[in-house]
């Protein structure tokens, strides 16, 4: 079945969310968690699938996420009828009373980090019950000394916890360029470990000075990412239930917003069409 397709909701794309190509929406928790809110974040829009994307569960921290944060996240998920939540495979803080980095750093890919991350994911899944949790692979600027590869680490977390994989295709693309590995092999290696999959797509830019691809969510999705997305859908098959496009800067015009969503849907429909015709 073709996955639901949608955008991470931003004020700039709200006007086009009723486009026929769009039937899903992702809510960024930190944007929706306004203590003065009186309306649902999705307002009167109806989607086949809504997911809440968090930034501060900090699943690779030594301590699990705090109850207040979990409660607030759950409230937004319930208010908006979300069927899944997600966050990143990294750490943004040390402990509950500690400091916040402002962005997620990759954990050292070690056995003990794997144990801590798996325990935190279990804790999150226990808390959310039927609302499935998806863990996103991050784009990083560096890696700490470790005992396994990122793909091995991610695979083991997925196998141990049974959580879903939020495959950020652009993050894999960026890391593959920046750290010299094969993006296709990475996805082929991890995909069998995931029981359920959602995807993120975005566009960044090549930073000449840093000699790195920066996943800035500021440009159209590159053609190479679309190719990788197509392959990811083929590998995921029916496990993939949603694809979200992220854009946070240099917002396109209306045609740009609609065009990108339609392209994402067209590829999904092409990938899933042969399967449909056999029934």
């Amino acid at each position: 079945m073709t996955p639901a397709i949608g955008y991470a909701i931003r004020e700039q794309n709200r006007p086009i969310l009723s486009d026929p190509a769009i039937n899903a929406a992702e809510i960024t928790f930190e944007r929706a968690d306004d203590p003065l809110r009186v309306d649902k974040y999705v307002r009167d829009m109806e989607f086949d699938l809504v997911s809440v994307h968090a930034l501060k569960l900090s699943v690779a921290s030594p301590e699990g996420p705090g109850v207040n944060y979990l409660e607030a996240l759950k409230a937004i998920a319930i208010e908006n009828g979300a069927e899944s939540i997600s966050d990143h495979m990294g750490f943004t803080r040390d402990g509950h009373d500690g400091v916040e980095l402002g962005h997620f750093a990759p954990p050292p890919y070690t056995q003990v980090a794997l144990d801590a991350t798996s325990r935190n994911v279990d804790l999150i899944q226990d808390y959310f019950g039927d609302t499935r949790f998806y863990l996103e692979n991050i784009a990083y600027l560096f890696q700490f000394e470790g005992e396994m590869t990122e793909a091995e680490f991610l695979k083991k977390v997925l196998e141990r916890t049974g959580c879903g994989w939020l495959l950020d295709v652009t993050n894999v693309y960026a890391n593959a360029i920046n750290f010299g590995y094969d993006a296709y092999e990475f996805i082929e290696e991890v995909m069998p470990a995931a029981d359920a999959v959602q995807m993120h797509l975005a566009g960044g830019y090549w930073d000449e000075k840093a000699e790195m691809y920066i996943d800035s969510h500021s440009h159209p999705i590159p053609q190479d990412v679309f190719k990788l997305y197509r392959r990811s859908l083929e590998l995921a098959g029916d496990k993939c239930n949603a694809v979200f496009i992220e854009r946070d800067q240099n917002f396109p015009d209306e045609a740009g917003w609609r065009g990108e969503a339609r392209q994402v849907r067209e590829i999904a429909e092409e990938v899933y069409a042969p399967a449909l015709s056999t029934h």
Binding site: A75, E100, A105, F144
Partner: protein, 251 residues
């Protein structure tokens, strides 16, 4: 720091990395990088985070920044001295910055009023966070005000609900007031929908709001009993004004 095998070791490792990177001190994380990893990547990461934090604080303190030449240096000093706290919402960082700047900088009386104003707005959000349900219920009631206002003078059974999310402050200058306002002025901050409103409150109005705050929900007829016959019209006028502003809801 080499890869650790114990949970306590991992806690120590992540705490050390997080606490140093949060202040832009890159050495410890650089020392823990995988062999061959360029060390300046940690600096790219931390400077990007500090830059974003700097920008958010500048935005949050825009009013204070007007006419304050040293604001950039103060924000830079703050982000290097005080790390972002766990689960920070942006609002909490701005609040901590305003406390910090009040201690570190020699603010003018006008700037002190701006700090009071911004801190009061933050306080409204903090109170609403703790009393989410009360906020939502009151805002629902508020939507009936327009219809019930017509009954205010005649229907003594109408209930008067005070907006549960409100914060008092006092402005000592006219920096944020109209020319005709008298200083010092008592001001009230409260939400209407997801907007925060600020109004200057006259003494008789303040008395009524504080009474409602202490007594909880009251009927109009019970409020009428508390004032003399000659002040009845003034009471209804005050209630009407407060209802139109969103300070009270009728039900």
């Amino acid at each position: 720091m080499a890869a650790t095998t114990t949970f306590e070791g991992y806690r120590e490792q992540i705490t050390h990395y997080a606490q140093t990177m949060a202040l832009g001190q890159n050495g410890p994380a650089e020392a823990g990088l995988q062999a061959g990893m360029p060390a300046d990547r940690v600096g790219m990461f931390t400077s990007g985070n500090l830059y974003k934090r700097f920008d958010k604080l500048k935005d949050a303190c825009e009013m204070l920044a007007e006419g304050m030449e040293e604001i950039d240096d103060l924000v830079k000093a703050y982000v290097k001295e005080i790390p972002l706290s766990a689960y920070d919402t942006g609002c909490t960082d701005a609040e901590r910055f305003l406390i910090w700047i009040s201690e570190k900088a020699d603010l003018t009386e006008e700037q002190k009023d701006i700090v009071r104003c911004q801190r009061s707005r933050h306080a409204v959000e903090f109170v609403a966070m703790k009393q989410r349900l009360a906020h939502v219920r009151f805002q629902e009631l508020l939507s009936m005000n327009e219809r019930l206002l017509d009954e205010l003078a005649e229907n003594g059974k109408l209930m008067v609900h005070l907006n549960p999310i409100h914060v008092w402050s006092r402005f000592e200058t006219k920096a944020l007031l109209d020319e005709e306002d008298i200083i010092p002025a008592t001001v009230l901050f409260f939400p209407v929908g997801n907007d925060i409103r600020t109004v200057v409150i006259e003494p008789e109005c303040e008395e009524l709001i504080r009474l409602l705050d202490q007594s909880g929900v009251m009927r109009v007829k019970d409020l009428r009993k508390l004032v003399s016959a000659g002040d009845q019209e003034q009471l209804i006028g005050l209630l009407r004004d407060l209802a139109e502003m969103g300070v009270i809801a009728l039900g």
